[in-house]
Subunit: 231 residues, 2 copies
């Protein structure tokens, strides 16, 4: 079980950014995009959206933040400034994207991630509507990220995508390889008192390398060649 | 100890992407950028780089990949396609950014992260020069990310940035708050047989909420108000 995600851009100023965000949404498998009073979306937006043009066209355009978050359960504003002050008396602690992921990993429901205006972020009133603040850990010298970058990091954390299986050699074949190494060490008259340490070291090196089945095959071929040369 | 990072863009075609990458580098505190045969870098690159214009100007421009990776210890190519084939016979397993981070977390030395051409990625010869392949987990339907997005995710994982301390109430004050709750439950004649369960539930709710010192203060004020009303 993992939460559904809505991306909300609040009054984006640059159409290229909107296009970029849709591309990234398509990359990470999200399709719920709401734009609050967006800039014009024309050629530049379409160019940056690449293969996500359908998502750009189908995004919902609304006039107010209230409409944008309708139907969501948790509203999270992203900000480059940690621990933003929403009011004289209310200081909201900020969470990192990975903390947010861990908090909501098993949750049902829908989370709205809000990204503010490129120049002025959010108004105080808008921040008051949010349940949480998220901040991507960045350099103090220059904490303000491009909104499509911030959205990309957010979606990277929140998506459940996986890369394909890595073909890893199975333990039995690895053991045959390690045994083979020991035979070769004996064949080449590696000093007896170093044998055990060297075997262990080789095992560790190749263990760490996470060999593929084909790599094990090739290494064993090389060991056979060494043995053949010796005869 | 953590590794140094070099970002290498191989023949980038769009100057906006190069500018975007420099902005993101500045966000995450990296400054080693090498461009192999880049496109012209003019107004659009400067516009997207925002406050990272110095980094854009100071980036090293070279003619070959060999020059770009000089002085680095590990060369990692990023690719949208997991388990890319570099050759008929050599299939390289791909790692995710977080796997790469964990592998090299304690390493010294310098890692070059390579990002390929926007249209054609890397040549086979270029991939042969790489020690590892990194793939960001994405949708199979559309795995190809914008290079500045891919670079941003990479730097997000590899940077050691932190967000400021979250002001968390200390245990002693929390205990006072929980005791206060119990008093109030007694004052308002909450059924005795429910007391313990309700106390525990309140403790869990407020524990999960990671209260700030100010929030504890305010909650205790509210509890005092309840007690005052009762008298």
């Amino acid at each position: 079980m993992s939460p559904q995600i809505r991306i909300v851009l609040v009054e984006p100023l640059y159409q290229g950014n909107v296009g970029s965000v849709t591309r990234s949404m398509e990359n990470f498998g999200f399709d719920d995009l709401v734009l609050v009073n967006p800039c014009k979306l024309e050629g530049q937006a379409r160019a940056m959206s690449c293969h996500a043009r359908d998502l750009l066209e189908s995004s919902q355009k609304v006039a107010t933040l209230e409409e944008a978050i309708e139907g969501t359960d948790i509203v999270i504003a992203t900000s480059g400034i940690a621990g933003i002050k929403t009011d004289q008396h209310i200081r909201m602690p900020a969470y990192t994207p990975s903390e947010i992921r861990n908090k909501f990993r098993e949750s049902k429901g829908k989370i709205a991630f809000l990204f503010g205006r490129e120049d002025n972020g959010f108004t105080r009133e808008e921040l008051k509507r949010c349940d949480m603040i998220m901040t991507i850990p960045t350099s103090e010298k220059y904490p303000i990220m491009n909104i499509s970058h911030a959205a990309t990091v957010t979606m990277y954390e929140m998506s459940n995508m996986e890369i394909g299986e890595r073909p890893i050699a199975d333990g039995f074949d690895l053991q045959l390889l390690y045994d083979h190494f020991e035979q070769v060490l004996a064949d080449i008259k590696h000093p007896t008192h170093k044998m055990e340490k060297t075997s262990i070291m080789l095992k560790r090196i190749f263990g760490r390398a996470e060999l593929t089945p084909r790599e094990v095959q090739t290494l064993r071929g090389v060991l056979r060649d060494i043995q053949r040369q010796k005869k």
